[in-house]
Symmetry: C2
Subunit: 454 residues, 2 copies
């Protein structure tokens, strides 16, 4: 196709093959914003590795940061350990650690052996933390001074190591005592106005806010909601300063979790899926979720088998079975979505099931009545039998109330029992609402069989 | 209930009623992180207004920033214009503008009239921008100096206005010419090392990166992906510096969009829903989406009505209709989720339909075969008729391929025609896959009616 021939990834692969590193760099610089991620994602892993090898480690690290986690991992795995190590040396410490943690053990060791020893030691320590606690999100690149340093010494140090500090995203320096315990923070701006001979202990803000290295992502998000800081120092259990958690890292991790929750509700479980991944992996991951669902579906449909006689007497009912199932699923999913969101915003607690249920049953009454009247009217008009309308309408109305109740409450219950509500709410909801729905319509029909002409 | 009696929102309402402003402030300070949003969300609007009135405008503004957009709006609407104006004066300019833009026109005018005239003028200008362009996301609180200023003058100004600048989240000052056009940026750190008499024009970084005020959220996200900045200056069409877009604002807007996309895919359309909102509004918003869906469902089910004779001959088929419908929905939704995500990450373009379809059909073949075999086997075992197994299995297998194809491609097509894929993909998918699925199972069954014993 035309698109393929002039595609930037073809061009990039060609330049990497034939051109100089400068040309590769220039080509990437000239790509419009937003085209870079797309272009890189379309390269084969082989080609992507070639591009990274052609660039300087700094440039390559910039690119790696813009790949998706899954793609970055695959590319790093294919590079010779030495090249991989040079690139990892240039990444911020939290991203180093994420990659090291996700790499296969032997691969990780080979790369760590080639890295700058200080960076490698950092990466080892950080990769032991979970992804979603302060320790896994913090960086170890920050300014740290002793209490007894003077303004002049600090300014001196900043001048001498300006290159190294250039990428540090901080407006603050952290001040520690002899045991590495945090005692204050220093606003760089305050250094501007102070005489050089003054000890920084006089300028620093004492007893600064800090977090423990095992603080959860939820608590960190709340912390940054409360405090207008761009970063917060993190201390280990002995109170030693071990890193700085940037607000940006917390925001990013939060967005990534929302993203993964969204994928899970839609049945993409076990990590992100990109269409550049191998077919077998994509198919089997999706299938693992589908196979649980089909068993639940069979379970739900067995209710229909139980009422087979009623169904063969009034075959028109069969038309309404999928409608009841689908509409109850829709109503229930709305309630699930609101609960998941309120849970993630901290606006509802897992023990507030009664309150949520009361709020949902109101919606269920109104919408159940509206949908029941509509579908009942349709059934009546279609078959000219008011009783059929009654059966179908009452069944959908009742089941809408069941669906919103379950949809609203189930995420809270799952959360309480530490089951991921994003994964499990949907299947649980549809199974129960299907069973109830089929039972309502076929059960009521069985009672009214004579009136239905069966 | 017990929970209600000792609940922090009851306590807060009581203290607001009976206590001093200091007690209210103290109570809020003492709430654990993460409890504040929850507590505020549970107050009635009346009570929430009372709390805000009791606090100083600065404290109140801090609280307003932590409410959800919908709740902040309702609370501000209920305050006397003077109180509301005092609080708005303390908000960052982009949040001021968001609130002003969302307020009813007359209410907005009343509040603007009471605000600090400079703040009000800013808010008016900013509220004209769309929410998701640079102009709507930028703040007007930033440091701006003329090219001919000296280091000494800048340091002087920073000392004099330290209070005002305290909340500015910037490490940079922006340097403009006489026509307010941006000519450079100044790293505050560089001021540390420079003699006071030096003109800042010597220190500043020339030709800095900047964005137009109409730059879209997508392009801003890409910009911050490419550049490790915490903020970027924004210029109007004449090149005049009008504000600074912070990376944090872009990240937040991005997360908000993902959040709203998630709600839309689950059928919460027309803005966020909180359970604290009035029942009528919650029910009618959900119903507007459900009523479209029920009509599409009736359309799809009409295929079943068409095959009524086949169905009454082989009543066992009725058990499999909801299974086919539901499983195809699941498979299709997985493909929708991957496409929505790849679209939002810029990893796929709306014109790459053929590529996406080829990637999906592979998954469809594998998973269709697996699911078809499973359900076919169940049908065979249940009724002891291999032909029934064949009909059901082939129908589900074929329809899985239809579902992943439609699910993968539909979001791209909708995006291309500028229809919101998060809202419309799901209903379109289920309608088409239901119709195809019912057609496959009942059509094949009609052909094999003698073998099915019908």
């Amino acid at each position: 196709m035309d698109v393929e021939a002039q595609a930037p990834w073809r061009e990039l692969a060609r330049i990497t093959e034939e051109g100089s590193p400068q040309q590769v760099e220039q080509f990437l610089k000239n790509l419009p914003d937003g085209e870079v991620a797309h272009t890189l994602s379309r390269l084969s892993e082989e080609e992507c590795s070639q591009v990274l090898t052609a660039l300087s480690p700094e440039e390559a690290a910039d690119l790696v940061e813009r790949l998706s986690d899954a793609q970055a991992l695959e590319v790093i795995e294919r590079l010779p350990p030495q090249t991989a190590a040079a690139i990892l040396d240039e990444l911020p410490s939290n991203e180093q650690a994420d990659l090291i943690a996700d790499l296969e053990r032997s691969g990780a060791e080979a790369i760590l052996a080639e890295m700058d020893p200080a960076e490698a030691a950092d990466a080892r320590t950080l990769s032991r933390y979970a992804d979603d606690v302060a320790g896994g999100l913090m960086v170890t690149e920050f300014l740290r001074y002793r209490e007894d340093a003077t303004v002049g010494e600090v300014v001196e140090d900043m001048r001498d190591r300006a290159d190294e500090y250039r990428d540090y995203d901080v407006q603050y320096a952290y001040v520690c005592d002899r045991d590495d315990r945090l005692t204050g923070v220093l606003r760089l701006r305050d250094l501007l106005l102070a005489p050089r001979s003054r000890p920084i202990a006089d300028l620093m803000i004492r007893r600064p806010e800090s977090v423990r290295d095992d603080t959860s992502l939820d608590d960190l998000a709340d912390f940054f909601d409360r405090h207008h800081y761009l970063g917060v120092p993190a201390a280990d259990k002995d109170g030693r300063l071990v890193g700085v958690v940037r607000k940006a890292a917390v925001d990013e991790a939060w967005a990534a979790r929302q993203d993964s929750d969204f994928l899970k509700t839609q049945g993409i479980v076990g990590g992100e899926e990109l269409r550049t991944m191998p077919l077998g992996r994509r198919a089997s991951r999706r299938l693992s979720w589908l196979s649980v669902n089909i068993l639940l579906n069979i379970l739900a449909a067995s209710v229909i088998a139980f009422f087979q006689d009623t169904l063969s007497a009034v075959i028109a009912l069969a038309v309404f079975l999928p409608i009841i199932s689908d509409m109850s699923g829709c109503s229930g999913n709305q309630a699930v979505a609101v609960s998941l969101r309120e849970l993630s915003l901290g606006l509802v607690r897992p023990n507030e099931m009664v309150r949520v249920w009361l709020k949902e049953i109101g919606v269920g009454l109104i919408n159940g009545a509206a949908l029941g009247l509509l579908i009942g009217g349709v059934a009546w008009l279609w078959q000219g039998n008011a009783y059929l309308g009654l059966v179908v309408g009452v069944a959908l109305g009742l089941n809408t109330m069941v669906a919103v109740s379950i949809g609203g409450v189930v995420p809270l219950v799952l959360k309480r029992f530490s089951v991921d509500p994003a994964i499990a709410s949907g299947p649980l909801l549809t199974t129960v609402t299907d069973m109830c729905g089929f039972f309502f319509i076929l059960g009521i029909a069985t009672m009214l069989l004579p009136q239905l002409g069966g």
